[in-house]
């Protein structure tokens, strides 16, 4: 009978850590609060470390550092290192804004495994229109920098969050 089967709940595999609301983009589909500038209080470094430790003990193994824009957190390399020490597979989910080659190398050395760059559309004009920020060139550069830093082959990937615009199919996933 429908609904009568008990679901076997297994330990969590994923932890999505939304480190901050702060973001240089203003995508209309985002789940961030519109008035996020009013939210000044965030979990501090020690709190996040405690969260990561507890979730790892529960079984989480895939970790997403997201936001907002996680790169605005100055303690990101420290959190990445803590995650690596705990055995997480760490993914950075970023707009690519501020993701320099130097930053990628720093994060890789801290133990980051994978970077996902959001791409709002495959043309600069539409991408920057949806994102509300001239960000397309940053995203393109972050891919090149990731390849140079040899984070891993194909480890800097594009993804199109939220409602996909009709031309977002060919944004370089892989």
């Amino acid at each position: 009978m429908a609904g009568s089967n008990k679901t076997n709940i297994t330990p969590p595999r994923w932890l999505l850590a939304e480190l901050t609301y702060a973001c240089p983009l203003q995508c209309p589909y985002c789940s961030n609060p519109i008035d996020y500038a009013k939210y000044q209080s965030e979990l501090d470094t020690e709190d996040w470390k405690r969260v990561l430790t507890q979730a790892r003990k529960m079984g989480a193994v895939q970790l997403g550092f997201s936001g907002g824009e996680p790169l605005t957190r100055k303690d990101l390399p420290e959190l990445v290192k803590h995650a690596r020490d705990l055995g997480y597979y760490s993914n950075l989910i970023t707009s690519g804004y501020g993701l320099t080659e130097e930053k990628i190398i720093q994060l890789k050395e801290a133990g980051l495994d994978h970077i996902q760059v959001s791409i709002q559309a495959s043309s600069q004009e539409l991408n920057d229109h949806i994102a509300g920020t001239a960000s397309f060139q940053h995203k393109k550069r972050s891919r090149t920098s990731g390849q140079k830093a040899r984070l891993s082959d194909g480890a800097v990937r594009g993804h199109s969050p939220g409602k996909h615009p009709p031309d977002a199919g060919n944004t370089g996933n892989g």
């Binding site: 330990p11 595999r13 003990k57 529960m58 079984g59 193994v61 895939q62 055995g87 597979y89 993914n91 495994d113 994978h114 996902q116 891993s152 082959d153 194909g154 480890a155 990937r157």
Partner: protein, 90 residues
């Protein structure tokens, strides 16, 4: 794509093989994904360290578990692993 018996086999540098304490099993980790391994497949993959070819992996595992006749099972699994990109040959 199939296993070349003359070449050594190594685990993919784009994946990570590790023991998960909570689940009590070895897993393969990759972007946004995880493969849960049974003990046999984990033991085979741990042998893929870039120093052994197929025959050496079979021989070392048969010795480790004091058995014989593993060649077909190991070959079949390594073909799957190669197809999935978990292992590489040079």
């Amino acid at each position: 794509m199939s296993i070349n018996p003359d070449q050594t086999i190594k685990f993919s540098p784009m994946h990570r093989l590790q023991w998960e304490e909570v689940q009590q099993k070895d897993v393969i980790l990759y972007p946004e994904g995880m493969v849960e391994l049974n003990q046999s497949s984990a033991e085979i993959l741990k042998m893929c360290d870039g120093t052994r070819n197929l025959a050496q992996i079979v021989s070392d595992l048969e010795q480790k578990f004091a058995t014989t006749g593993l060649v077909n099972d190991i070959t079949a699994f390594l073909e799957v692993a190669l197809k999935n990109g978990w292992i590489q040959q040079n």
